[in-house]
């Protein structure tokens, strides 16, 4: 009979009891342990039994920790604290020995108290009335039928769902807008959330259709912005869909005519939006995202568009993410990217173009990293007198940059769950070893990569390390330019111009900043290079040593400066790309980043067809990287 099965109780083994006793400093003999075990089991069962009445009277179906604690309290037993969280608790084994335990992480109270991302308050409980059944009729469900999973949706909800999906994924852009607007503001669609999430997870099946992907992303955005929706664990699903758009080598990317870059940019923005607004719903989300981005970045077999996605994703997650993941990876990644960029063969053209996109994205990311770091340092220096003795450390920066820096979990905690799995798979710097690099060193290193392409200029002299005023003075100037400088100006100054026909002017004249800073920067860099290169990774030093003779100055990477001056006299221009980086100082969200992409159709179309079957991949560059021999071109910008 059924009750025979029900009699199988959870039993606490004798060993556990003995272990517990030992930890309390009591040695138990065998029979005592046996007796105690039985008693413990019985008491547990009794408490469970008693707790069920609290569940029943609370009119719930789910027994909560709170119920159990109440039962304990009423039987004069101390309640067990610390398990009230909504999330399931991971029950982890220790490899050696059959020991299982519940993960109990330490919470840094100081950090918690000073955290600026105060979780959103719960929505107010409210009562809404609705005439469900008029005169006992209007019963939309067929009476008496057993509702299946689908039928639990009422008819009008089902209709709504169909209408919405149809208009969002349909042809009419106007309809789509209306639908998205409604999705953003409708308070009664909570029941449909799983269905929408399911639809959105369909990104994987429409990866050839940019338009559809875009619409699905818009749908995500609307759902995320809907104030009445509690996304709960669906956040994870939404994030994975968005991440797909950011990171995957979408089928649509095969055709270079498709502007999948914008999609990735948009998806990255969306990701950061989800993360900042709903990141607190899923624990460990930040780490999972970072880890998967890192994994992609460190995988050379991935196409460049994936790398691009990873970079913009990191950028969108804030400068902390860039500092944590992108920056340590840069030396390793640089070699590969350099190889692509240096290959001027025709067959490599597409790959190279992609490489430039990645380069641009990285540049923008690290620029903001530098700026924000300097800013946080300066704020920290001002506020730090009061007794925050962490110079330039990431913790010190925390409270200084609201809205940008604070991820919901402390950065130093190890990843869990899926994240740890990812972590094991991903090759990268382990979180534990990570220590913030001081700004000067970082700047030097970055400068060694980007040279004057870096719009941020610091005096990198040895004095910088112990003189905060320098960075303090610097950021305001860059900041000041932000609102004033037009997109075009910014583009011209900050982004590498890879232009075959100069269809936009470089506008060197518009960047006095670069002019001044260039001199200082290069001088500083030359001094600091020796220092930084010693500390830089082996790989980078290898890559830099691989072409020692190219750069007379030997300071910065030469590709882009060269590319900027090269185009006019160079041979037949095959590609016409504009990689525009724009800084948009919108609200207080920090600067957003966007690229525009205008392919010159006839030319690229011809060549791309040849390579249409394969995506630009660093790892697939077959031929040896051609050395750049014309060293006279590798000069700094003659501004």
């Amino acid at each position: 009979m059924a009750d025979r099965e029900e009699r199988r109780f959870a039993e606490v083994p004798r060993e556990s009891i003995r272990l517990m006793a030992e930890s309390a400093g009591v040695e138990l003999s065998d029979d005592v342990a046996a007796l105690l075990t039985e008693d413990v089991c019985y008491r547990l069962r009794e408490a469970t039994q008693n707790s069920s009445q609290f569940m029943r009277h609370a009119k719930r179906r789910k027994l909560t920790v709170e119920d159990f604690n109440r039962a304990l309290r009423w039987s004069n037993v101390e309640a067990v604290c610390g398990y009230g969280a909504q999330d399931t608790l991971p029950f982890r084994p220790i490899k050696e020995g059959d020991l299982f335990f519940v993960e109990d992480r330490e919470v840094n109270l100081v950090e918690l108290a000073l955290a600026t991302n105060i979780p959103k308050g719960c929505a107010e409980t409210m009562v809404r009335v609705q005439v469900s059944y008029l005169d006992g009729k209007g019963n939309l469900e067929p009476q008496g039928t057993v509702p299946s999973a689908v039928q639990t949706l009422s008819d009008d909800l089902l209709k709504y769902y169909q209408q919405i999906t149809r208009s969002i994924l349909g042809e009419d852009p106007h309809l789509m807008k209306v639908a998205l607007l409604d999705l953003q503001s409708n308070s009664k669609i909570a029941a449909l959330l799983p269905y929408f999430v399911y639809v959105i997870s369909g990104v994987k099946s429409v990866s050839h259709d940019l338009e559809q992907l875009n619409r699905l992303l818009h749908m995500v955005k609307s759902l995320v912005q809907n104030p009445y929706l509690y996304l709960g664990s669906y956040v994870r699903s939404l994030v994975s869909s968005v991440m797909y758009c950011i990171l995957e080598p979408l089928a649509a990317s095969i055709n270079p005519l498709n502007d999948h870059w914008t999609l990735r940019d948009y998806a990255a923005l969306l990701l950061s939006h989800i993360f900042w607004t709903h990141g607190d719903l899923v624990s460990g989300l930040y780490h999972q995202i970072l880890l998967s981005l890192q994994k992609v970045l460190s995988d050379p077999v991935r196409p460049l568009c994936s790398h691009y996605g990873a970079v913009v994703g990191l950028h969108a997650l804030g400068w902390k993410a860039v500092e944590r993941v992108l920056y340590p990876h840069l030396p390793a990644y640089w070699a590969n990217l350099q190889a692509v960029l240096d290959d001027y063969s025709v067959s490599n053209a597409q790959v190279k173009a992609d490489g430039h996109k990645v380069y641009g994205a990285i540049l923008v990311a690290v620029e903001r990293l530098l700026k924000m770091k300097a800013l946080s340092l300066s704020v920290n220096a001002e506020g730090g007198i009061g007794g925050l003795p962490r110079p330039g450390g990431i913790m010190g920066c925390r409270e200084s940059s609201p809205g940008l820096s604070p991820p919901p979990e402390p950065l130093s905690e190890p990843g869990l769950g899926i994240a740890s799995h990812l972590h094991a798979g991903g090759a990268g710097c382990p979180w534990e070893d990570w220590t913030p690099v001081p700004l000067p060193a970082m700047y030097c290193e970055l400068y060694s990569f980007f040279g004057d392409s870096l719009a941020v200029r610091f005096s990198t002299g040895p004095s910088l390390g112990n003189s905060p005023p320098a960075p303090l003075a610097q950021p305001p100037t860059t900041r000041k330019e932000l609102p004033g400088g037009t997109a075009n100006l910014d583009t011209a100054r900050k982004m590498p111009q890879l232009t075959a026909n100069l269809n936009i002017s470089p506008r060197q004249d518009g960047s006095p900043h670069g002019e001044q800073g260039g001199g200082v920067g290069s001088a500083g860099a030359s001094q600091s290079l020796a220092r930084s290169s010693s500390s830089s990774s082996v790989q980078r030093s290898r890559s830099s040593s691989s072409r020692p003779g190219q750069r007379p100055s030997g300071l910065s990477r030469d590709v882009f400066p060269k590319a900027r001056f090269n185009p006019l006299p160079a041979g037949p221009p095959i590609f016409s790309f504009v990689i525009g980086g724009r800084q948009m100082g919108r609200r207080c969200q920090g600067r957003r980043f966007q690229t525009t992409f205008t392919p010159s159709q006839p030319l690229s179309a011809v060549s791309s067809r040849t390579y249409a079957h394969k995506l630009p991949v660093i790892g697939r560059v077959g031929k040896p990287v051609r050395r750049w021999t014309c060293s006279q071109y590798s000069l700094h910008l003659p501004l």
């Binding site: 039994q49 009445q53 009277h57 009119k59 809404r128 009335v129 469900s132 005169d135 009476q143 008496g144």
Partner: protein, 757 residues
Amino acid sequence: MAAVQDAPVEADNEKEIKTETLNDAAGNHASAAGGVIPSPPVASTSSSGPAKAGGPGSEEQQTLMAVLQFLKKNNFVGAVDVLRREAGILEDSDESQGQELAASALGGAEAGDATCTLSRASSCTTSTPAVAAAPAKGARCAVVCVSAGGEDQPDVNVVLSAYSQQGDPALYQGYYSGLKKFVESVLDCHRAELSQLFYPLFVHMYLELVYNNHETEAKAFFEKFSGDQECYYQDDLRVLSGLTKKEHMKGNETLLDFRTSKFVLRISRDSYQLLKRHLQERQNNQIWNIIQEHLYIDIFDGMPRSKSQIDSMSGSLAGEAKREANKAKVFYGLLKEPEIDVPLDDEDEEGENEEGKPKKKKPKKDSMGSKSKKQDPNAPQQNRIPLPELKDSDKLDKIMYMKEATKRIRLGPESLPSICFYTFLNAYQGLTAVDFTDDSSLIAGGFADSTVRVWSVTPKKLRSVKSAADLNLIDKESDDVLERIMDEKSASESKILYGHSGPVYGVSFSPDRNYLLSCSEDGTVRLWSLQTFTCLVGYKGHNYPVWDTQFSPYGYYFISGGHDRVARLWATDHYQPLRMFAGHLADITCTQFHPNSNYVATGSADRTVRLWDILNGNCVRIFTGHKGPIHSLAFSPNGKYLASGATDGRVLLWDIGHGLMIGELKGHTDTVYSLKFSRDGEILASGSMDNTVRLWDSIKAFDDIETDDFTAATGHIHLPENSQELLLGTYMTKSTPVIHLHFTRRNLLLAAGAYNP
């Protein structure tokens, strides 16, 4: 009427009880006062047998024997001698000690214990007519059934000591399977009745084994026979199965329930004789002892009942109700309403017709005795319970009510009510209780976070009265003074009441909408003012969670019930309870006032519903038949019927006057948390955890049974299997469990629940 019908049976019954008295002359009830050792049975038709040496002794004697055995075993010869010599004296002290223990063990009974004892004593007298004939009331010659009087004395030690006698543990399985074989071999008509014995016997044999430390035997016994038990005992069996040690028996409530109350069985005389003969032939004393000590067999003459009849009535923790328990007269009629001159201004003529009707919250189904304005013969005396006088505002409200009532829609199978659903959004699984005011203008919710929230569901916002300083400033003579005292700044759609320190499990509005009651896990009931939105009183009395509370339909009184198994009647201006209703064997889970405010019904986790008389605190009805804890109760507007819903998803209908089950409504698949009759009683609405509201044709349900000739004497009714015919509609919600239902004055059905995404 009931009394007349019952008369001949009672005579029989009396005779029966008398013979029983002879059989078990010694009796064995805990409340025996003296220390005299009872004499062995004189004219024993049933041989008490050798195992039961010294006759079926009272508990104190058994304790003594146990002690003696213990001393003997441990070779304390001297002590044994002394003990024997001083047996009489010792017994006295033991007894008093036991009584003390008993008093202290009864957790809920402190100050107001007098009420309790009163009710107990009176229930003794009412339930046992034979006692009157017996020479000494309450003495040991009182029959088996009198021991019911002692059931409220859960003295663990005394009770457990009853298990000190034991047979050979190895033979228990044999005994049980022997009985099983016997029951299987008897005629079909007796089998169902005798099968009732299995469960209590099983439980007591198992407990006996456990008590005597035969753990392995007990486990084997359980393993072997637990599968045979009726499925509705699952929950109790689960508790039992966890219990394998004597030490665990002490604190176990379920066990205590078993030991402190006799399991009541109803068996026809023929079946009983069969059983007795069998046990005598087999010399099966172990089983016989258990039957004698722990079971109460209510013997009736006539046809043995069928399996379905038995099943419909069984399921409660302590068996069925004794017939005597439901014999008391209940005045279920409605009180006469005070005459109020209704200003017939612009109302249509219907208003005039309605004028003659009783002005009541819940008007009668048909105007029984009200047209002629005569007193309903079934109604209690108008002043049986002192009720508060009507204030002017109450009269105004009554007038409003009557005006509304004229616009009421007559419901029926053809005209079903419209349903409005009040959904609590963002309740985060925390909504635990809901109530509407009678005029449906306010809704209150109790929450697991200890708050009570009140919403106005009309455009009129909730305002509190100005502070004392501001009140001084207003012109008290002005006409709109009532308007002026309100603080406009405080107007809001909802108010939150803070005060409890645990989940709020019940809320109830006063009929005049000035007060709100809430009860909580923290053991208190709180009275809130809806003028100031502050807590006025915290009623402390329940020491354990209070599961439900309910205002009287006339205000002033309220009832509360909780984990301490005692329901308390309070008046708002007394900080101590007026009455305590003790008798339930498990938590009181829901409470409800009778429309005439003279009775309260309580539903319990012991799977019984009890009806209590407020006047004297007596338990006047015990309804058994539910198979799970009862979570909702509703009186029909005419006061004649009671509906109860339980965790098993069934709704049972009861005739209060006759004390009979008259209907079973099957359909819900989960706990029924809410029941409500329409204003005229034609429709019963039930709301459940399974996210549905169901409407039932209550007229038909009652009519079907009324045309039937009750067989009221025996109380054995054949329930028609007509749930599907009675079901008028099933209405799904959108994943929202229905936890409260309310009919507006115009018969619009309001339902409430929290959305569970």
